[in-house]
């Protein structure tokens, strides 16, 4: 079902990041996800393509929305899903990441969906297991399914990604969402800007193909898409912004600053949103422009597409 031509469909062993994916591969995932959006809006949502397969959601960092989204995606494709939350402290105390991975792998799951507080940890884990691995966030490195769901939201609203001006605002330094989005959007031909206080713009980010702004109004000028990020206080050691109100004054999205963007600019946020910290309530709830809840809907479809993509390979392998 919903299977495009099997010969052209992108079927990677793992999905660990957006960096290195070609526009065709990204488009293949987005096309597949588009099909699942329609399915998810039907009364009968149950698919068959992962029937009999086991998906383990392995979360070394707490999450509600991403874990729920993946669980729902896997169940809608007919898979059995197990959620495992591993407190980071127990990793320090005893079992290493690799031992945890190998233990779970021995139970023969088909897909491990992994989130970890350390950059690179999911890739390390993927090297030690025989099942497919989907990265759903590793430290400040990548969060590929978030970038894909953002891209799907943009593509469905704007028809295309190429040529759009996308402004990503906020805590760029600590954000895996920003990195994955930069890789994806630049690969697809968008013009990407990042806006934030100088302390939250990481070194040499221009080399990733973005323009840097510290003045939010200048960064928003004629933007088609405004992507807001929250301050990741849990990853900050020391002061990066003096106060939340000061942050809102300069980098909070409100009607005044938004006026610089195109009139039909879309407002996006990966959530959870902090009203009054990075986004004003009136803007977040603007039903004409805010697509924040639509992003959540696209999230399930994108994750269904990713789960199918990494298991298509296994189908082909087994007789």
């Amino acid at each position: 079902m919903n299977a495009p031509d099997a010969n052209t469909r992108f079927a990677p062993r793992h999905i660990l990041g957006i960096e290195g994916l070609s526009p065709d591969q990204i488009t293949s995932l987005l096309d597949a996800a588009d099909g699942f959006v329609a399915l998810n809006r039907r009364r009968e949502k149950k698919g068959e393509s992962l029937r009999g397969l086991t998906v383990i959601n392995l979360f070394f960092e707490t999450s509600t929305r991403t874990q729920t989204s993946f669980e729902m995606a896997a169940k809608r494709l007919g898979a059995d899903v197990i959620n495992m939350s591993v407190a980071t402290s127990s990793i320090y105390k005893g079992e290493s990441l690799i031992d945890t991975a190998m233990t779970l792998n021995a139970m023969r799951p088909d897909v491990l969906v992994v989130r970890h507080p350390h950059s690179g940890a999911v890739e390390l884990l993927s090297q030690k297991v025989t099942c497919a691995v989907i990265n759903c966030g590793d430290g400040s490195h990548e969060h590929p399914t978030q970038a894909l769901l953002d891209a799907l939201t943009i593509r469905r609203r704007k028809g295309t990604i190429a040529g759009l001006v996308v402004t990503i605002c906020g805590d760029i330094a600590h954000s895996r969402v920003a990195r994955s989005n930069i890789h994806l959007l630049t690969a697809m031909g968008a013009r990407v800007r990042v806006v934030g206080p100088p302390t939250l713009i990481p070194a040499m980010i221009e080399r990733m193909g973005v323009e840097v702004f510290h003045d939010m109004v200048a960064g928003l000028a004629d933007a088609d898409i405004v992507m807001m990020l929250r301050l990741q206080l849990e990853r900050m050691h020391g002061t990066f912004v003096p106060s939340l109100r000061e942050n809102f004054h300069f980098y909070g999205l409100d009607e005044d600053k938004l006026a610089a963007a195109k009139p039909d600019a879309l407002i996006m946020h990966p959530g959870p949103i902090n009203r009054g910290v990075e986004i004003d309530t009136s803007v977040a709830d603007d039903i004409d422009r805010s697509v924040i809840t639509e992003q959540v809907e696209m999230g399930v479809a994108v994750r269904m597409a990713c789960l199918e993509a990494v298991t298509a390979h296994q189908e082909a392998a087994s007789p």
Binding site: E19, S96, L97, I98, H116, H118, S119, G120, A121, E123, L124, D138, G139, S140, H141, E142, R176, R179, P202, A203, M204, I205, R207, M208, H237
Partner: protein, 433 residues
């Protein structure tokens, strides 16, 4: 004294950076000491009572002196111990190891210094020369018994891979050691700028989402320290310098006639930060691998003599310490067995003459640490290395003698290797070639 026959190493190309000698000649050793050396020696043949060793025209140089080795002796001995490190050292032509304290094995009592020296003697493969810690527990607060440690045989003072950050403590340490004539060795990295840092700050830290350590963390520490050297007159040595700005600061200090020296290690001239690739933890070092511009500045520093010496920075780590998410992995790489061929890269690459390249690992560290070794001279310890300076080979992790195999040069083609190592007149290592 030891009853062994005197030995003559004849038909050698003698390269002695200390004296500038480079030419055909022979060395006579007996009782662990060089009895005679020179171009004319044994021109008329070797006397009957002397055992002759034909060097077949290969390079005979002083045994290498490695200024910075972590042994893990009495600490994490599953990673390395004095025996395994000594065997790795002699396989690399190293006959003197200066041993640094680590966070898990301090060297802060005279007994610890004496123990390491005694264990070295017992092993009988290399000369083991411990440093003393500058501060207790390398915590940067209370000075160790530097005088007693010095009398016990400490060749200098260092807190290993922890910078001594407190300016007043450093000032007093530099002042105090002026009485003992030994150097203070600093890990030049401003700790608050390096806190939680994993890699060099720049494009790679941003792409990988790892906390970066800015290059200025090095020069800030060196420039401050140089002011204290000027104030105190203490001897100061900056370990493993890795940045263009840090090297410039040393160059300027030397230009002003201050007692400042420095060294670097092969990763900082042989590799840059791109070796990290996708979170390769073997390439996690302290200081971190730097940019290509910095690497070229290290080479220039070696060429113009700003960087006096090259140390291996041997820091063994077992797989469990490296097979972790990057931020949790331990820093460090083994280096004893690869020091010589990587220093010879500087020669083959046209940066240094053979004599200058060998000086970085013989006469220069000897001068900094005040050692008798590191030269081919009458009365010096009979520590020698026989080198085929031209032979091409490939560094292989599996071929390492060291207990830990965490090299970042696996698969690297190099030119030149140690054929035999002589320690106190005895051949302790030979490839048989």
């Amino acid at each position: 004294m030891n009853g062994e026959a005197p030995r003559a190493f004849i038909n050698a190309r003698l390269v002695d950076p200390a004296s500038g000698m480079d030419g055909r000649g022979a060395v006579l050793v007996a009782d662990g000491v060089i009895q005679d050396v020179g171009p004319g020696l044994f021109a008329d043949g070797v006397p009957e009572r002397v055992e002759a060793v034909d060097c077949q025209g290969r390079v005979l140089a002083p045994g290498l002196i490695d200024m910075r080795v972590t042994l893990h002796e009495t600490g994490e001995t599953h990673k390395e111990n004095l025996q395994t490190a000594s065997q790795a050292a002699i396989a690399g032509g190293i006959t003197t190891m200066a041993v640094v304290p680590g966070p898990k094995q301090g060297i802060e009592t005279p007994a610890q210094v004496e123990y390491l020296i005694a264990r070295g003697r017992e092993t009988g493969l290399t000369d083991v020369r411990p440093y003393g810690g500058i501060t207790k527990g390398t915590a940067g607060e209370t000075l160790t018994e530097m005088g007693l440690l010095s009398e016990a045989g400490a060749v200098g003072f260092t807190d290993g891979n922890r910078a001594l950050a407190d300016a007043d403590t450093l000032r007093r340490a530099l002042t105090y050691i002026t009485r003992f004539g030994v150097p203070l060795i600093q890990h030049p990295e401003e700790p608050s700028l390096a806190a939680e840092g994993q890699v060099n700050e720049g494009e790679i830290s941003t792409r990988l989402g790892l906390k970066g350590i800015p290059a200025v963390a090095e020069v800030i520490m060196i420039e401050r320290d140089v002011r204290l050297v000027e104030l105190t007159g203490g001897r100061y040595h900056a370990a493993h310098v890795s940045t263009a700005a840090g090297i410039d600061a040393i160059r300027a200090a030397k230009g002003r006639g201050l007692k400042v020296t420095c060294d670097t290690a092969p990763p900082y001239f042989g590799l840059n930060e791109t070796a990290i690739g996708e979170y390769r933890t073997f390439a996690k070092l302290s200081p971190p691998l730097r940019s290509e511009e910095d690497r070229l500045a290290v080479i220039e520093g070696l060429r113009d003599g700003t960087i006096d010496a090259v140390a291996s920075d041997h820091l063994p780590q077992d797989p469990d310490s490296k097979r972790l998410p990057f931020a949790q992995a331990e820093p460090g790489a083994v280096g004893l067995e690869t020091l010589l061929p990587l220093v010879l890269e500087l020669h083959h690459g046209g940066v240094l003459t053979l004599d200058q390249a060998l000086a970085k690992v013989t006469s220069a560290p000897a001068a900094i640490l005040g050692l008798e070794a590191g030269r081919l001279a009458k009365g010096a310890p009979a520590d020698l290395v026989l080198i085929d300076a031209e032979v091409p080979w490939v560094i292989r992790e599996a071929g390492l003698v060291s207990k830990s195999k965490n090299t970042l040069f696996d698969g690297r083609p190099v030119q030149g290797r140690c054929l035999a190592t002589v320690f106190r007149g005895r051949t302790v290592y030979s490839t048989g070639a």
